[in-house]
Symmetry: C2
Subunit: 452 residues, 2 copies
Amino acid sequence: MSQTVTDLVVHDIRFPTSEQLDGSDAMNPDPDYSAAYVVLRTDGPDPARGGPGQEGEAPEGHGFCFTIGRGNEVMAAAVEALRPHVVGRPVPRDAAALGDLYRDLTHDSQLRWLGPEKGVTHMAAGAVVNAAWDLAAKLAGQPVWRFLAGMTPEELVSLVDFRHLTDALTPDEALAVLRAAEPGRAERTGRLLAEGYPAYTTSPGWLGYDDDKLVRLAQEAVAEGFTQIKLKVGGDIEDDVRRLSLAREAVGPDIRIAVDANQCWDVAEAVERMTALAPYDPYWIEEPTSPDDVLGHAAVRAGQPVKVATGEHAANRIVFKQLLQAGATDFVQIDAARVAGVNENLAILLLAAKYGVPVCPHAGGVGLCELVQHLAMFDYVAVSGTREDRVIEYVDHLHEHFADPVVIEAGHYVAPRAPGFSARMLPASIADHRYPEGPVWQARRTPEETGR
Amino acid sequence: MSQTVTDLVVHDIRFPTSEQLDGSDAMNPDPDYSAAYVVLRTDGPDPARGGPGQEGEAPEGHGFCFTIGRGNEVMAAAVEALRPHVVGRPVPRDAAALGDLYRDLTHDSQLRWLGPEKGVTHMAAGAVVNAAWDLAAKLAGQPVWRFLAGMTPEELVSLVDFRHLTDALTPDEALAVLRAAEPGRAERTGRLLAEGYPAYTTSPGWLGYDDDKLVRLAQEAVAEGFTQIKLKVGGDIEDDVRRLSLAREAVGPDIRIAVDANQCWDVAEAVERMTALAPYDPYWIEEPTSPDDVLGHAAVRAGQPVKVATGEHAANRIVFKQLLQAGATDFVQIDAARVAGVNENLAILLLAAKYGVPVCPHAGGVGLCELVQHLAMFDYVAVSGTREDRVIEYVDHLHEHFADPVVIEAGHYVAPRAPGFSARMLPASIADHRYPEGPVWQARRTPEETGR
């Protein structure tokens, strides 16, 4: 029996994280972690479930864009602009419907001008696409990673938009990647459920933290079972060297320490800086320069000894394609909410698999860990077939606001069991953090703002 | 005496152009040409002028983002998000102030996350930057092209953000380009005032026009003095061949016919299509593939005999940098309203001059011809120093809505004389086309929409 999407609701949710310098880095000194949070409502109980859904009688789909504060209202407006493509549509339940929805959202003939396929409008499409996947997986009674891993190679290929990709990846090549990984799916699913997926933590290394806090948190991370941590760099060169040397001393030679410049260098500067940091054995340099600069990343990779990682701000699959074609990166860092959702990330996973480059997802922010774990686990089961040299970023912020938060055990993400995309924010968290009317923000308003 | 920007007003202006298929192409079948139109208000008469300004006592700055309909309200929201950077600020009058404003608008530490420097938020910054240039040039009593061409090389270099550019263009290299063009400035200004700047016209070639209209408009264009026209391609290959052969027959062998695929092909398809069209001697193939695909453009350029042109959708200076580094394009097509305004386009003009690639601006839409003529003329006077192989696109749509519309004579743009950026839309045009409340749109509402 068919159901219909009856409404699309958007909330402007912001957390005042800048007050503690959580999340501070070379380009983003004062983020207020935020989400343009999307709820897709439907028109009744799911007959297949024979009773009330998780959020009441009618199942809902939840998704979001992540931002760092100002402009979250622009994202919300961009989500609203997608309403005509969604409301009144039959609830998407399978690959065919989820592929159609993704293509409709990213190829609106007028909205496309605002990108194309990049920035505000593309992230908005991603939020709605991801909410639809949350809804479809709930109706299938499965977490998104298992819902995806239960699809045939042909169904998965049908989810991808190959436009502007075929010089690097054709549908037949994608099918070959997926078929090669088909035999071991069940075994790898079992291993994921038993062992989880390796994580690394960025919590010690925010640029605004002092040396004592950095050392203490680095040691705590190792004690908790993490084998990789990450530090922000890109301040004064002396500070970067001191911080990395302190961290190296604190964790010893066997723990991987990635460093992250958050785009702040030009090519020559990146080469110079990483040459200076190399004696402390950084595992990778992340975002050494502009996320749009494919050739710049290739030059940085060629010019100094440390591996390069990038992708959290890569605008779309076409940028990832070029990063791989140019040999510009050693690690592909997908982000669950920067591109147009599950469908476009599937294209990127397939590109990375074809080129043999490991995917190490970006996470943190608000709910990005919750989402992206599903994509990495699906990649292991049905695309790359391996966890070797692969880790998912973990940051211990704001998970308490989610109904199905990530669980980390001994430095691993525990595979989610609940149906859906782990995207549902708690109603009280939504109510408290709505901007500017929620009580968390009203309490921070100045007398001038409130007119008192 | 200092003045202050007292308000920023944004209007959502849309023209129902889709009703005539004006502007139709392979990716944009039904555009409603639109503008998120910005007015910067100031707090009083300009003491230097000793009387009322053009728009009343207080001088105003006018600028806009161009869109093709849906989503124009998202652009307006993005412009609103920039208000705190503008309102209350001293009116920018010189290179130092215009450079500071540009950098503040593009590097807001939280808004930057929504790009960075691309899509909706970047175009919004461009609209405000351009409005500030309109205002500053009016206060200087000069059209923007002459205001720019009156600045010293050092002032011009101070307007540019060299971040992520220095592997291709350093401040010293930019200074060398500008100093080399300094000697002939006065002579070239005189030639521009006497002769204008060559134009080409796209009016004959919209994809939705039938063959008779195409042939008639092509012949009319030649009769009017144009030596280059442009056709849209990217439909069925037989249609493209037929249309180009008809146009070639209509205009003869000596008129240049550019073709424009508006991003619709993959690399192999672009090579195949252009090989088929080559016997009809197309002058360039514009946007053969994704505007994000630097390596794809390079492959298209290498794989078939026709020259490549691109840039109207290139997101920022970093994409242009790579197009030049990779030898991916024969012509750089700047757009006045896609990147962050005059300042970022100056960086792109300097990059193109260093690499010796001609700049042939994109125009059309709403008011894009009015703006971009200033940049091409400034390029001729003070950057490249030449008009050879350079033409500005011209489309004869919607100029009647502007107070200082472009003037075309014998296939040339006549150099604008009025102070400012030619950006001011007529008050009646604004009132009539506000969306959805203006009378043009109210007249088109269905009974369901109006509740009658």
